[in-house]
């Protein structure tokens, strides 16, 4: 398996224009974060200032075992590596749609 998918996440503005701080959860509920460019994200209404918004992050699915998916992130997570495991309900085949600010 080597398919594209979209990981549910929450984003806040990053350190540069067009960059966002991304926060998501691994399969065991532990949070991880990374920086990603707007190209790698879909979000109906990208946040500004102190706002945050729900978004989806483009990832590659490397392996599937039951409801667990091994994915590759577009950038290395700050807390661990580029490969990590998430649950099926955290992934969507289609990117997020609609206004999702939280």
């Amino acid at each position: 398996m080597n398919a594209e998918a979209w990981l549910n996440c929450v984003i806040t503005p990053g350190q540069f224009t067009g960059e966002y701080a991304v926060h998501a959860q691994a399969f065991d509920g532990q949070g991880f974060s990374l920086f990603a460019w707007e190209d790698e994200l879909t979000c109906r209404d990208f946040p500004q200032g102190n706002q945050q918004a729900k978004a989806t992050l483009r990832v590659r699915v490397i392996e599937e075992q039951g409801d667990l998916f091994l994915i590759e992130l577009p950038q290395q997570a700050l807390e661990n590596g580029r490969l990590l495991t998430v649950k099926a309900d955290q992934l969507t085949i289609e990117p997020v749609r609609g206004k999702q600010r939280v």
Binding site: Q15, E19, A21, F32, Q65, E79, L83
Partner: protein
């Protein structure tokens, strides 16, 4: 295998490597200006933003899961720079910059070769003490975006950072084989980073 300038042009034409805006000109008669392509690298320019981490009463614990990316953003100040208002990088000061160019290294759906890259400094900048990256030069296959530069001035005098200045060079390499899963990183894993705990 490192791509020569000719192979870089071929990769750009084939879409295996995307640099936007594409550095120009590809060739230049000797002595008539600057060509961004060296024999096996292409120059990149500095973008117009500098992010400056601020000191505070905090410490980073890389062993703890946290919203570190958000924290890094909140504890830094972003500066817009221009030719008229460059950023003065003081000796021993650490800042983040970003390349003007956006890089893309698509992973092909067929074939057995893809591209990776490394960002490196330029000797002329290094002679003044400027490091534009440390420990993180690799651009992975599949990457798309601008490259973040971890810059520090190890010299004795301030260095002016101006947008569009030549700041780095990109060295592009072929990766033999299309990246796929590594079984050992998934089987028997006990941690969320996919690394086996046994």
């Amino acid at each position: 295998m490192i791509l020569s300038n000719v192979e870089l042009h071929k990769a750009l034409d084939a879409g295996r490597l995307v640099i936007s805006s594409e550095p120009q000109p590809r060739f230049l008669p000797a002595g008539t200006g600057h060509c961004p392509y060296d024999t096996h690298s292409v120059d990149l320019r500095l973008g117009d933003e500098i992010s400056v981490p601020q000191p505070g009463t905090y410490a980073y614990d890389h062993t703890q899961p946290a919203r570190l990316s958000e924290h890094l953003t909140k504890t830094a100040v972003k500066y817009k720079i221009s030719a008229a208002t460059p950023f003065k990088l003081e000796p021993n000061q650490f800042v983040l910059g970003v390349t003007h160019e956006r890089i893309e290294l698509p992973i092909p759906t067929s074939g057995d070769v893809c591209l990776a890259a490394r960002i490196e400094g330029k000797s002329s900048r290094a002679r003044t003490g400027l490091l534009i990256h440390f420990t993180a030069p690799t651009v992975h296959p599949g990457f798309q975006g601008r490259l973040v530069l971890e810059m520090i001035n190890l010299g004795a005098a301030p260095i002016l950072l101006t947008p569009m200045m030549l700041i780095a060079q990109l060295i592009v390499e072929e990766v033999r084989g299309i990246p796929r899963r590594n079984d050992s990183q998934f089987q028997n894993q006990t941690s969320p980073d996919g690394v086996s705990g046994t």
